[in-house]
Amino acid sequence: MSSHGITRADMQHVHLPRRRRVNRLMEGLAMLAALIAVGMLVIVVWSVAKRGAGAINLDLITKNPVPFSFEPVAQGLANAFVGSLVLVGLATLMALPVGILVAVYLNEFAPPSVRTFVGLALDVLNGVPAIVIGIFVFGLVVIGRGQSGWAGAFALACLMLPLVARSTMEVLALVPSSLREASLALGVARWRTTLSIVLPQTIGGVLTGTVLAVARVSGETAPLLFTSSIVGTQTSWSPFHALQSVPVAIFELSESPDPQDHARAWAAALVLLLFILFTSLAARWLATRSRRKLAASR
């Protein structure tokens, strides 16, 4: 590959048929790559769909697991679904207000140097592996006190925070400064302007960002392994002890030798996948809708 990219030899017609062949080969390879990627997606989703659909039944969300049962007995993963609901719900409650406040501070109050620094911290936080976050919360809260739903939710919240903060910042930047000026010129105070005029404009974007963060975090296993995984089989809504979750349940079932367990794992995987796909689509739909509204108001 010449460092100038296009050589004189490239341009001479005498090589044209060879150059055309190389070009077609490369185009074919690129298309092959795309086919492989799409193929992988289709294969994985198809596997989950096929095997999961066969094992899906109402028991999955209504009954609890019955461990060490050698005869087939009606069981499900009710405790995992309830636990996931509680964990993700609490994590959202923790991460959403903090994320919005961080974005408000960075966008409305912070000098540029602070903005770059905190922005960098957020990006670094985003890049910390989920398992390390799990270990962190383990060392912070679990050692000495034991696992709990609070610990698991906090670990998930650490993952959600940079996502919510980033998407809120993007929407805040889109609010035109003329709107802020109009309110301030009336003699309205800064804090009132931010809360009553600027933030309401961002609701669509914040919602989208939150939904995406929820979709992302619902499937996370690693942060929960050390914080909320040693559970019983009963359904529980209390975060004061460890709660089972769908990803951790799938993880445990996948390691078991029992094909019944595998079947339940596929079924749970299908439900999880469908949930994530639907929430991602919902977020994308919300995003296009709020973008259209903002464009119309210009």
Binding site: S178, L184, A185, L186, G187, V188, Q201
Partner: protein, 287 residues
């Protein structure tokens, strides 16, 4: 040549001063509302305007004219401390409002803006309904009694009531540009300011909408004091009682700043200006 000499035969102004305007009362009868003394406005240490000294009088329309880049907008934004929003901005000199100095960090700019409102170049209504655009400011600033009456009065004064009275709940963004600007005027006067500053309010509007706004100023000046920045000399001639002419001065190393050249009754500025630079501008020889 002294000021008293009639020089209308010696210069040909490019604008005609409206003769049906009421003559100004004598200077002693005018009440001073702003006393600006030796005002400098700087961005990152570089002056945008220097040494401005003038008085603004109550219940008059005062126009600020001049070529683009002479600091007219900067000047008017000093009067309601809007330039505070710009981090690189600093100010020297005094602005007395009803005798009180409103410059300096000891003064609360939010309180200043309560009394001195502003209408901007591009209409910027809130993304709320027409009613709420006017009512929101009233609610936040504590003028909550007889809200409906206050809203109607503001919209009527802004010559918008008849056009919107049947669709007060419609979004403000569904109005035309001229209507949106009148809504912004209604919003500003609803909170009962003392002074309304207008930064080229009609530059984004068509002639009919412009005329409506000019008529508005004329009708309302008995209640409010208007200071309007305009790049349109004809507009100043039509609408203003007093006119201030700013121009660009140059210094070494390419430094440029705006200075107040002449400030007088509009008629005088356009027919018998004292300063050569004013004469050049109003006769169209430059700018």
């Amino acid at each position: 040549m002294t000021e008293d000499e009639d020089v209308s035969t010696t210069i040909e102004p490019t604008v005609r001063v409206e003769t049906r305007r009421q003559p100004l009362p004598p200077r002693e009868r005018l009440e001073r509302i702003f006393g600006i003394e030796d005002l400098d406005a700087l961005y990152s240490g570089k002056p945008a305007i220097k040494g401005v000294t003038m008085d603004v009088y109550k219940n008059l329309v005062t126009a600020i004219i001049g070529p683009s880049g002479c600091g007219k907008s900067t000047y008017i934004r000093c009067l309601n401390r809007m330039n505070d929003l710009i981090p690189s901005f600093s100010m020297k000199g005094t602005i007395r409002y009803h005798g009180q100095d409103i410059t300096g960090s000891a003064v609360d700019p939010v309180a200043v803006r309560r009394h001195i409102g502003m209408v901007f170049q591009r209409p910027n209504p809130f993304p709320k309904s027409i009613y709420d655009n006017v009512a929101w400011g009233l609610k936040v600033l504590g003028l909550k009694d007889s809200l409906d009456d206050r809203v109607e009065r503001a919209l009527t004064q802004a010559a918008l009531w008849d056009e919107v009275k049947d669709r007060l709940k419609a979004s403000a963004l569904s109005l035309s540009g001229g209507q949106q600007q009148r809504l912004c005027i209604a919003r500003a006067i609803a909170v009962e300011p003392d002074v309304v500053l207008m930064d080229e309010p009609a530059s984004a509007l068509d002639p009919i909408a412009t005329a409506a706004i000019e008529q508005l100023m004329n009708d309302l000046k008995s209640e409010y004091t208007f200071v309007i920045v305009t790049h349109n000399m004809q507009q100043a001639a039509r609408v203003a009682d007093m006119t201030a002419f700013f121009s660009i001065s140059r210094g070494d190393e390419g430094a440029r700043w705006g200075e107040l050249i002449e400030y007088d009754a509009t008629e005088k500025i356009f027919t018998a200006p004292s300063d050569r630079r004013t004469e050049d501008y109003v006769t169209g020889r430059f700018g």
